[in-house]
């Protein structure tokens, strides 16, 4: 096996691929191909190796949560909905997206959440392929870095192997981007399938769809009848399929993408707000995307902005609009929607920035940047101590910290002010970013108990409670009674438990009752010892910077609260 240096690949984004309906560009970018020497056997280029490694990382990071992650957040709601649909009683939690329909089908085979999660994982597995196909518009290295950024984005990992109704959203969004940046018209079947997929997906592809429509319309391009017809047919079929809930019965006109977009504002898909999660997981990616957008704006003034970049910026703008509108809502979906265009923009931009960094004048930077980093580390050490005692230090410590931060700032500023040295600052930025990003990445990928996503979660204890209740009801007779307050939370853990009675007053013949602890215990019943709970919330440590620092250095310091439930059994029949 031989490898080629990464520089052989096209590092500059050859970004001239037009969107659907626009005239194909005249020039083509140089797409690197694996160097094959006659008689030398199979040679693997550096690029191929990089694709393989990053693809493996991408998949590996999503593999763990399939078995490890507790059912939580949007997944909990939607799995409950899918289960209700599976037993023939679909309720409001069943939003008929294509993934929900598939989940329902898979739950016929196995009642575990693993089946639907595997389906989501398999769809996610196509993402490296989609990125690979974007080598031309993004550049090989740009596409690779974009894949890396998506691979390690914690919210994207949480969605990548999650059985929420949005299970197919991320791959659909990326494949849609691949399709609209193709330089050839789509075959009718593919256009129809794309429209069907978008309509029956969740909301994450919506910003791209709107961005594409807006740009196409703003350019005055009207799709020809040949192009529009398959799109219309595909979309109509999607609406029909969803309205008939993929065979479960007619439910009025339903467009899952819009329904789930609205649900992202109404339902509780996380315990923290979108803004809190963004502060925890996304600042480095967003900073990189902001830099890329700034670069694009400068390029647009020179008039050499590729169409793909325009589309990416528009995509990011619409996704950011969604994020801003839902900043205070309990949903991580807009973060993922933002992460995709952010990564696709930041990937190629980082390649350019890295090249500039390597070309930079390091004579000044080689001293000042480590000094700046060292000052930062010292300052961080003090602040971490403050975080652990949850109190800022005395004046002396504060002055010291201020001086250290000031020193770090001055050193960085000195580098920034020298035009030739300035690109070297990227090294400092990468150094600062890597730790918070990777801790979040591994926290989510390894389903760490204190990680704020997913949350709220259905604890394993809820299933134990179900086993206890079923056993008791079987041995003693009488119904299992659940207070209406817990009715929704009980759907998933209490699946396959026979008939349940949802009641606000305990019937006389009840065998076991799950009751709020703030209500009087049911008469004639005795409590089952234990701290029972139906839901566990993991709060984001965003109530203050010290709290965040503490959580950052000591993930288990996160505040986890349980919604208590009282469990009562009838003593005798």
């Amino acid at each position: 096996m031989t490898t080629e240096p990464l520089q052989d690949a096209t590092l500059e984004p050859a970004d001239d691929a037009p969107v659907i309906g626009a005239r194909p560009a005249g020039r083509t970018a140089s797409v690197p191909t694996p160097a094959v020497r006659p008689g030398a056997g199979i040679e693997i280029s550096g690029a191929m190796l990089a694709w393989g490694v990053l693809g493996a990382i991408f998949l590996a990071l999503r593999l763990g949560p399939i078995w490890q992650a507790p059912v939580g957040g949007a997944e909990w709601i939607h799995l409950s909905g899918a289960w209700e649909a599976r037993i023939g009683d679909p309720d409001g939690r069943f939003v008929p997206s294509l993934f929900q329909a598939l989940s329902t089908l898979v739950l016929h085979i196995s009642s575990s959440e693993v089946g639907p999660r595997v389906a989501a994982f398999l769809a996610s597995a196509s993402i490296p392929v989609a990125l690979w196909m974007l080598r031309r518009p993004l550049g090989e290295a740009g596409a690779l870095l974009a894949l890396l950024l998506i691979a390690i984005d914690a919210p994207a990992i949480a969605f990548g192997a999650s059985a929420s109704a949005l299970g197919f959203d991320v791959p659909i969004a990326l494949w849609l981007f691949v399709l609209v940046t193709r330089d050839r018209a789509l075959p009718p079947w593919l256009a129809g399938a794309a429209a069907f997929a978008v309509v029956t997906a969740g909301p994450i592809p919506l910003p791209l769809t709107v961005a594409w429509a807006t740009i196409t319309l703003a350019r005055g391009a009207r799709p020809s009848r040949d192009a529009a017809l398959p799109l219309a047919v595909g979309a109509a079929l999607g609406v029909i399929a969803a309205s008939f809930r993929f065979g479960l019965g007619f439910d009025g006109i339903r467009i899952p993408a819009l329904d789930l977009f609205a649900a992202s504002f109404e339902q509780r898909w996380t315990s923290s707000t979108a803004m809190d999660l963004a502060l925890l997981y996304s600042p480095p990616l967003m900073a990189a995307a902001a830099g890329a957008v700034a670069h694009a704006v400068v390029a647009s003034r020179r008039g050499d902005l590729p169409q793909t970049t325009v589309l990416l910026v528009a995509w990011l703008v619409f996704a950011a609009g969604w994020f801003l509108a839902s900043a205070g809502e309990a949903t991580p979906a807009p973060l993922v929607a933002m992460a995709l265009p952010a990564a696709l923009l930041a990937g190629p931009a980082l390649v350019n920035a890295l090249q500039a960094m390597l070309r930079a004048e390091w004579r000044l930077a080689r001293w000042l940047l480590p000094m700046s980093g060292l000052f930062l580390l010292f300052a961080l050490a003090i602040v971490i101590h403050w975080g652990q005692v949850n109190e800022a230090g005395d004046v002396q410590e504060r002055v010291m910290t201020g001086l250290l931060l000031g020193g770090a700032g001055v050193a960085a500023l000195a580098v920034a002010l020298d035009r030739r040295s300035a690109p070297a600052l990227l090294a400092l930025g990468l150094g600062i970013s890597v730790f918070p990003v990777l801790t979040g990445t591994f926290g989510v990928a390894l389903s760490a108990g204190a990680e704020p996503i997913p949350s709220p979660v259905s604890p394993a204890q809820a299933r134990e409670l179900r086993d206890l209740a079923v056993a008791r009801a079987a041995s003693q007779g009488g119904p299992i009674v659940i207070h209406p307050q817990f009715a929704d939370a009980a759907t998933w853990p209490f699946r396959q438990s026979g008939d349940l009675t949802i009641a606000s007053r305990v019937p006389q013949d009840a065998a076991i009752a799950v009751w709020p602890t703030d209500l009087a215990p049911p008469e004639g019943m005795v409590p089952v010892t234990g701290a029972w709970s139906f839901a566990r919330h993991k709060a984001a440590p965003t109530t203050g910077p010290l709290r965040y620092i503490r959580w950052f250095t000591h993930r288990n310091a996160a505040v986890i609260t349980s919604e208590p439930a009282g469990v009562y059994m009838r003593t005798s029949k």
């Binding site: 037993i87 709107v210 819009l258 977009f261 109404e266 009675t501 009641a503 007053r505």
Partner: protein
């Protein structure tokens, strides 16, 4: 502050999104319609929200509202794509757009500052407005439900609430904040809209040399519309400081400010009717009148009518349709001006060439009825006249007339068809068109109320008549005589047909005839001025035209009335109210432009008559006495901490009830029905049985829970439901039945009847709070026996019908 900024940002985004469409529709405006983009964006996205909710395409909640704005973005992109000059227009008119944004921001925050002193959603009809806002936001289906009549759809012109709900949801603020912020939005959007139209009309009229006066026109128009008030405030101010001259006050018809004679044995009670019965000296403790709500009298200057004007509306804070429609109406006037300024002949085939325009026009014109039904006829007629006059410039009458009809009828059909779902549920209060038979308006009252605006509008005559040949002026004035004569003849015919003619002549009184004649002369002069300018193909014709329509509305309100539920007691109350409110808008626009034109002439020494503008300007300044003193009065009386939360007073004064409202919002579904007290007060009769001691329910706290949560209740404000649904036997029977059903639950002697009665009402929840504890004091059953208390705090409790259901899990 965060809700204020969020709402402001949402309004700016919606306005910015509409810019490409405004550029297409108002290209001939000096700012390319940037100032009109605010109402344009909101009406288009509001319509998208309304129609897509009906089609079940958009779901209920914030997401649906955000998607409606996204639909506007896509429409704007399409408009920009079809507009070859979009980039050039955007670049050229960027300063205009920035100026509009700046004016909007200034006015928005200025009004927010004021409203933060008096944010309470309480009193007058504010609970009703809040109820409709919550209905627009919370309704599980569209067209929205009527929370005060569970199971029925709203029957009112509620489009303003839909738009307000849209902004409230997009901004992510609570409805009680959205209520107050919508008022600020309306104030600011009305300012930018009228500034935009006035600036355009003045620029067209003044030409290049005098164009800087267009800024004056915009400023004066904004001032007239949003700040000017009744001149009665001048007398109020003087009287508050003990300065009143009986003769002068009687001459100006403000006798009510002169202290009544002491109520001794010799005084005839009739002598204490139209005089000041308040406390004797001193009436004020400050530089402004500190008497509670003294400014209310400024909106009731003409007896037995409402003479409300925009500043009063914003001061009071009722979020009524006629207030929320201000920006939309000005948008329609801008549309009329834009259509009039165009060059090509408008005919039926124009719609085929520009289907996008037709759709936008249809949405705007149709919205006039949906937002405030009274506006449709007036402002659709203005748009129609503008089209006709444009066509007359291009073609002779015999060609222009059919072309105009050909252009207008598809537009009108579309304007109605687009809002068909609303028309299906709407029941109009109007039940007849009558000649007004009664006492006419006293000239002094007419002067106090409309004098400054009317005189300012008449200044347009100085421009029209200054250089026109005498013969042309004479011909135009002769022709213009028809303008006041036709309505007068119509009035005579109508009165004669009902056999009231001699009574009508007699009852109007000498003062009434003087007023009528004055209005007629104003209509005549303004129409004549318009005629002269139109014949001369002058672009200055818009100001007198709008002034003539405004004067005609005031004149018409003296002659005719629309019959409604007030017909028996105050027959012309609503007619005068609604028509003069429209006239205020038109005269503000015309007056601002005409006054600026007069100043421009005077400064350029073009006309001596233009110096008549000086005394009119003095009067205009005097109209500011009202806003200054009234604002000081309202703000000065406020002692609570400043906030924009309209329910903060409930949280302060009644925390249990406030928490109950919040609990219902978060723990019940939007379609749930909640029983609350009917509002009737009950006590024990002589036989110890419960009897109604007070049947009045409107304008009070009844219906408060449904108004604050949007959750439906079986019956809210009884008389308002009668107004909205018509005073028929069926309606009153149904409403009374519902009142009895609700009262029967709260007065149940057998608790076993409670759940069946609740099920009959379709309700799952029942509320016991302040109103129930006071209206059914000592008469309520023990609800705990049969219902589950699901929320309890202090004296506020929510009960729910016990849940018992079996669910499958496999």
């Amino acid at each position: 502050m965060a809700p204020v900024l969020a709402f402001w940002a949402a309004a700016m985004v919606v306005g910015a999104c509409a810019l490409p469409i405004a550029f297409v529709l108002f290209r001939r405006f000096p700012d390319a319609g940037a100032g009109l983009a605010f109402p344009l964006g909101l009406v288009l996205s509001g319509y998208a929200y309304f129609v897509l909710r009906i089609g079940s395409v958009l779901p209920q909640g914030r997401g649906g509202a955000v998607l409606a704005v996204v639909a506007l973005v896509v429409a704007a992109a399409a408009a920009a794509g079809q507009d070859r000059r979009f980039r050039e227009t955007a670049r050229r008119f960027a300063p205009g757009a920035l100026a509009a944004a700046g004016l909007f921001t200034l006015c928005f925050f200025a009004y927010v500052s004021y409203r933060s002193y008096v944010p309470d959603i309480a009193g007058t009809e504010q609970p009703m407005d809040f109820m409709y806002l919550n209905a627009a936001i919370e309704s599980p289906t569209y067209p929205p439900i009527d929370p005060w009549l569970a199971g029925e759809r709203a029957s009112y012109y509620y489009f303003g609430y839909v738009q307000s709900g849209l902004l409230t949801q997009v901004a992510g603020v609570a409805p009680e904040e959205g209520y107050n912020l919508t008022l600020a939005y309306t104030f600011a959007a009305a300012a930018t809209s009228i500034a935009c139209v006035a600036f355009a009309v003045a620029r067209w009229a003044l030409g290049v040399r005098l164009r800087r006066w267009a800024f004056v026109a915009a400023g004066v128009s904004v001032g007239f519309l949003l700040l000017a008030g009744s001149l009665s405030a001048v007398f109020e101010l003087a009287a508050a400081h003990g300065n009143y001259n009986r003769g002068l006050y009687e001459a100006f018809g403000v006798e009510w400010l002169i202290p009544c004679p002491e109520p001794t044995g010799n005084v005839n009670p009739a002598d204490r009717v139209n005089c000041f019965t308040g406390p004797t000296e001193p009436r004020t403790t400050s530089w402004y009148p500190t008497e509670f709500w003294f400014w209310w009298r400024g909106s009731r200057v003409i007896p037995n009518t409402i003479t409300e004007f925009p500043f009063f509306s914003f001061l009071l804070g009722d979020m009524h349709p006629h207030v929320m429609s201000l920006p939309l109406v000005i948008l329609s006037l801008g549309l009329a001006a834009s259509l009039w300024r165009g060059r090509s002949l408008l005919a039926a085939r124009t719609h085929l060439r520009r289907p996008g325009w037709t759709l936008a026009f249809g949405i705007i014109l149709g919205a006039l009825a949906f937002q405030n039904a009274w506006d449709l006829l007036t402002f659709a007629a203005v748009v129609g006249a503008a089209v006709f006059l444009r066509n007359l410039r291009r073609a002779p009458f015999m060609q222009a007339a059919p072309a105009t009809l050909g252009y207008l009828w598809p537009l009108m059909v579309l304007a109605v068809a687009l809002y068909a779902p609303w028309y299906r549920d709407f029941s109009s209060q109007a039940s007849g068109f009558y000649a007004y038979v009664g006492e006419g308006t006293r000239p002094a009252h007419a002067f106090l109320q409309f004098g400054p605006l009317l005189l300012a509008s008449l200044m347009a005559c100085t421009w029209a008549f200054r250089r026109a040949p005498l013969a042309e002026t004479r011909n135009a004035l002769l022709l213009a005589l028809w303008a006041p004569l036709v309505p007068l003849l119509g009035w005579m015919l109508l009165a004669s047909a009902r056999g009231d003619f001699s009574t009508a002549i007699e009852q109007r009184g000498a003062g009434g005839w003087v007023t009528l004649t004055t209005y007629a002369v104003a209509v005549w002069l303004l129409t004549g001025a318009f005629g002269v300018l139109v014949r001369g193909h002058s672009r200055a014709a818009v100001a007198p035209a709008l002034g003539a329509v405004g004067a005609l509305l005031i004149y018409g309100a003296e002659l005719f009335l629309i019959r409604d539920v007030f017909f028996g007691g105050q027959p012309r109350l609503n007619t005068v109210f609604k028509l003069t409110y429209q006239a205020w808008m038109l005269l503000s626009l015309a007056g601002g432009v005409a006054l600026a034109m007069a100043f421009a002439q005077a400064r350029a020494r073009l006309s001596r008559a233009a110096w008549l503008g000086a005394p009119v300007a003095v009067l205009a300044v005097l109209t500011l006495v009202y806003p200054v003193t009234a604002t000081a009065n309202r703000v000065g009386a406020s002692t609570a901490p400043t906030t924009i939360d309209g329910l903060a007073y409930v949280a302060r004064n009644n925390p249990g009830e406030y928490a109950l409202v919040q609990w219902l919002r978060t723990h019940t579904a939007p379609g749930d029905v909640v029983i609350e007290g009917s509002g009737r007060t009950w006590g024990r009769g002589q036989d110890a049985r419960p009897v109604v001691t007070n049947a009045g329910v409107d304008y009070g706290e009844s219906g408060r829970i449904s108004a604050r949560t949007g959750r439906a209740t079986p019956i809210g404000w009884y008389f308002h439901e009668v107004q909205w649904r018509g005073q028929t036997e069926d309606t009153t029977r149904e409403l009374t039945y519902r009142q009895d059903l609700v009262d029967g639950i709260y007065l149940a002697t057998d608790t076993r009847t409670i759940i069946p009665s609740m099920r009959e009402a379709g309700a799952e929840y029942l509320v016991v709070g302040t109103i129930e504890n006071s209206r059914y004091a000592g008469l309520m059953p023990r609800f705990d026996e049969v219902l589950d208390p699901v929320f309890r705090m202090e004296n506020a409790t929510v009960y729910r019908i016990p849940v018992l259901e079996q669910v499958r899990t496999e």
